[in-house]
Symmetry: C5
Subunit: 354 residues, 5 copies
């Protein structure tokens, strides 16, 4: 399950703009990868010293710098210094609590978006923050962890047959967002399958596992929705905010992306409605089953408690109890018992209790 | 029941604009039908090679190309090439997850709308996607399955007495949308009848079947609403987006359509409110019935457990128990028992427990 | 109770604009009444042939044509032909499912509004559609049934002392709407009284009748709200849409009407909130009563089951049971029983179970 | 408790603008009070004949005419005639169902606002309507009942040291509204205290009284909110509508008033949320207590029913029952009973049932 | 827990603008602290006579006057007189019920914001009001209590290495707001941790403590949200309202602050959704546990009540009961008992009741 709140309070009291990584601490080394491509060429290298990359605008080829790991603020600071970016923006990159947003930074565009990833082993969902700095001929992406999200995209660029090799940095930025949004579909499909599985068992045999699942779904959908909902607005605003950087030919792609986000939000809302209905059904099923239990008890008790009373009567030791002397007394007793038994059964049958 | 999520994840990782059919795979052959009509003439033919139809604007007669089946992207691709349509649009045609929308494609209008169809045999609802490409003198419609939705419309065109033979492609497009929206009424009426049936039994004898029905209604209404709600906006925007293609004389028809969609949404919302109330009533009824069960149990147990205790007393074997010797002891016992019984019954009667 | 859905599906598949009455079939004859008045004169006649009324604009007196019954489309068609009205509008008059709306028809104004009427005998609510065609010197009103709604208005016109005799057709139209809206108050007051009656019994003795009533209220309020809510917008728009037909001096009346509709919607929403609270209270009361039942059972069972066990012990037939021989054994038994009984009662009293 | 609906249906069917008082009938005499003040002088008199007051604009001093009691339409009619006010406005003054609103009447401003008053003795809330007619140098206020609401204000004016003596009629109108809004705070504070009292008992010992209180709170908050919410809009619009009458120096007071209304609405919404939470808690507490009851029953029954069975066995009269002959049989029986008893108690203890 | 309503009703009836402190009465002395700094110098002194500080604009250094304690209106009045501030504004400073807001006071800016503080010892939340008066070279802050909120900020200013020493009063005002907003994160993190703790226990062992916690969370979130939500608007409006006072270089800081407030509101809403889900889960868990209890009871009762009846039969004293004479009668009895016992256990096992 997600943690509700990732920000460590160590941040409070610091001056605004001080760079401290506020996410979980990881042991992994911070990795910086530089992918450089144009229509003709493609190179991919691992960068040790981030300053080597700058100045970044000196060659016409498109450069994609993929920074994985945020626990070492010095790299981000170096990038900030080279591109002359305000420390508050750098602080946002380091703070995984940021809402998705887009900002114009005079010469480049700053974008925060969330990616979703479900752990194969535990089924738990993670929400990662992906920050993008988009310039005329470069995109710098920041992620906390490498979850292989960009592998397909890298392959497509390397491959060289795709449209992307002939397009600018704006199309690269779009492609990164597209792959993140496509991944929403994949993750939501998994979630949808889980929901449908639980749906099937919920009426038949509602148990505490179903309850746990419903709660897990609710919680995940609350958090996923919170992460994805503002993305809609971000994509709508890219065009307005990043007018110069985004070419007109990329507009149709952005509007396609915008459609996808609307679909995603539709799906999430549908899931939420359905999970809410499941909760209602669960509660009703539990009530129904309680009803069954109570009926069983009531039938047994209502039949046998009076009969036991009758047996108790003839177990009394009064000196004078005429029935006890009758030869057919015992059989008479059985007659009464069976008559009562049968009439009670008919009564409960009529009430449709079994 | 609908599947929550139709998109196969095989799509993820592909470059944007790659044409892959992401719906369910069907065995049926893809059918293309060409209906050509003007005030005087009407022809109807089945097309084997889609390229034969183009160039489409060379004759003044109205052409309606009805493509049924989406599993073969090559036909869609051919149409796209002939009309010079962006691959992202073609991708939308193939993706049954699309939200209803309208787009201006420079020279023709692209429209996605959803049709609803309930399976006669199982009572399950299907939501199909109908995409329309509307040009000056043609309409191309794309559907996944042929459910006979357009049969009435074809008959009316063939018939020749109707207004439609004298009007342009815009009126044809309107007529297609109108027939889809009219079908919403038909399907919602069926649903309304089902709801009223369940409504009748829900207070009288609430059972798990009612619960299943309510859940089915809720789920269907969630999904139908999601499909129809954006249609309202689509129709509002047709006029603005498709200004040139839609003649002014068709405006009154579109505004009539818009009214119908508002009615449909009203009806769906009313159904949702009513189904939500039904759920409340169901829960209350279950509680009420549990109450009945508990009262039965309590009456039986509260009366007979004390009586059994009394019988138990005189079944004890103490050497000295004066009552046992009394000649009228046994009848005295009966007196006590009957007194208790009657007073208990009066007590419960007073409490209105039966 | 209302039927959820009045439209017969026979309509689907017809060409748009075909006139078919889609409401319930009635046996009654369609009645057309013509009221003609000016400051000086007043006449009232029953019209057999609708064409006699036209051309309608030839005299300066105000004409009110009241059509009751919609099952015969030919009359409506004749009116449409005489006034040159689009068939889609005529279709709206015949379709009782229409949302309230106002439309400018080039020279006259078309208005749909809903009237509410509760059946005296059954307490069931009916929602009728009233359509108005408003011209320079005439108003044509269409209703499905004559429920005496307009009787007061006719009397006031006939009476001649009222302001209405000196005003134009716009004031007549306003008066018709005013009488319909005034009737909302009357009907809602009846409903309010019913709600307050149920409110009183709901805490004291919640039963299934209360549940039925709450459900009935909910359902009625859902449907009434749906019918009245759009009227607000209609009245707001009359001024804008019907600029020429409505004189400035009538504006203050329309804005008064608009206030009344807002009050009506306020009242409906208040009723809905209150009925929703009543449902909560009902559910709690049912739980409370179940609690009472359970407590009764628990007290009886917890006291007498252990006592029965003790009596059972001394009913055993072991050869050697010393207590049985004691002279005061039986009284000792009673001592134990009474001690237990009293301490249990004190225990339950302390727990405030009775 | 409020009555849901105050309008008597006797109104329906009357011509719009006919003056009939539609509130409850009161026996008290209608009182008209005239307060006349300027910086130097202050007079206060009771008016018998309303016509004596007019023409009202002949002296520079500020005049406040306070009309208490609405059951005699003739006074209102006289005022209307003197000030040349439309009969629909007069009708609004007489109709206590009006929503708060502000209207420009050519030369004076018409304002409807609601005051809240809780009956000391019964704790019931009353919502009264206060109508104001504001002119250049006068304010006429209309109330149904005198609840002492204006006493403080009159004292402040008489006192003469306050700012009000130097300001115009707009400030007087503001002061009247301010005193009404201040009274909202007082009344809501009382309600808040009541809510906190019930809150304290609701978890500890939820009973039907708590349920009654919650329902009472809900109902009152629904009705109070309905009365106060539109006031926000009224005050916002005063400036726009009453531009000429309200001096610029009064604007800051109006905006302060507007702040107060926002606070009031905040408080009401907070109360509603809290009362809704209380309902949830109540329901849960009832469930919890039922659980306690059931556990008690189950523990007693599960322990003693099996033991009674065992005692029943050795109460049987079979000729051959070896245990009965054993010398230690009876004590063996007790051994078994105690063993069972203790293990059951341990079992239930482990399950944390007590 | 917060008190719902802090305003003492003693305020009602006073003339608008009369200065009375309406919060809780405190014994502590009112403290006024003056911090004066520029790039070079820093002084900090305690002010006894507030008039000494004025005229405040005579030196270029930035002055921060921090007033702690609001129970002595004379200090606030003195400040108001010196800065020529309307008495209604001063009244707002003294009234802790104010909504967050920003106002332009001709030459200085007036800001109300709320700070949140959880009592270490009791875990109770307090909402304090912080009012700011912002001028060209000064900021005056008003708080009811000193909770050490500004200590970090003072240290940073004193420290002298921070950006703040080179910036104007607008940056100081921003820093004060930033420290308050940062504190929201800290407090919400604490709340988040508490929520997650309760979340863990709620499914496993739901008890009344969990219920108390959920209610406490709900109530706190309602009140915190109410306090923080309007802050969003306040910060948005600062730029528009305080155009002259706020330099352009501070804009980026304000927009960062605005982002943080959006995050805070997101977090609060997420918490509310999650707490609402927890309530649902709690209710279901209680139902589930009741089910368990009922099953235990039903199993015991359904097995042993019939067996006791059988034992009762052979405890009867009829003269002629053939079974009693059979040599194997007793063992036959045991056979029947065990058979019944085992088949009942199998039956309940099959029903998955244990």
């Amino acid at each position: 399950m997600f943690r509700l709140f990732k920000r460590s309070s160590s941040k409070a009291g610091l001056s605004p703009g001080s760079l401290t990584y506020v996410g979980d601490k990881h042991e992994e080394k911070l990795e910086v990868e530089l992918i450089r491509y144009s229509t003709e060429e493609y190179t991919e290298e691992s960068i040790e010293n981030i300053d080597d990359v700058f100045p970044i605008e000196n060659t016409p080829s498109i450069k994609w710098i993929n920074v994985v790991g945020l626990h070492d603020p010095s790299t981000i600071e170096a990038i900030g210094k080279n591109l002359d970016i305000h420390s508050l923006v750098l602080e946002d990159i380091l703070n995984p609590l940021q809402r998705p947003k887009v900002e114009d930074l005079d010469g480049c565009l700053f974008l925060i978006i969330k990616s979703i990833h479900s752990e194969e082993s535990t089924g738990e969902y993670n929400i990662d923050q992906v920050s993008l700095l988009i310039g005329v001929n470069f995109v710098i992406s920041f992620q906390e962890k490498n979850r292989g999200l960009f592998d397909d995209l890298k392959r497509r660029i390397k491959n060289g047959k795709e449209r992307i090799r002939n397009r600018g940095a704006d199309y690269l930025a779009y492609s990164i967002m597209d792959i993140i949004v496509d991944n929403y579909f994949t993750e939501l499909e998994k979630l949808g399958n889980q929901i449908e599985e639980v749906e099937d068992t919920i009426i038949k045999s509602p148990g505490t596992e179903s309850l746990d699942s419903i709660y897990k779904f609710k919680r995940e959908l609350i958090l996923i929705r919170k992460s994805i909902f503002p993305v809609r607005n971000v994509i709508h605003r890219i065009d307005r905010v990043g007018g110069d950087l985004f070419q007109e030919s990329t507009d149709i792609y952005l509007s396609d992306l915008s459609d996808h986000i609307l679909q995603i939000i539709d799906i999430i809302d549908t899931f939420r409605d359905i999970v809410a209905s499941m909760m209602d059904i669960y509660l009703s099923s539990v009530s129904n089953r309680m009803n069954e239990v109570m009926k069983t008890l009531t039938i047994f008790a209502s039949i046998f408690i009076p009969l036991t009373f009758i047996a108790g009567i003839y177990g009394m030791n009064f000196d004078y109890m005429p029935e006890l002397k009758w030869h057919w007394g015992y059989f008479g007793f059985w007659g009464v018992v069976l008559t009562l038994l049968v009439s009670m059964l008919i009564y409960f049958k009529k009430k449709k209790w079994f």
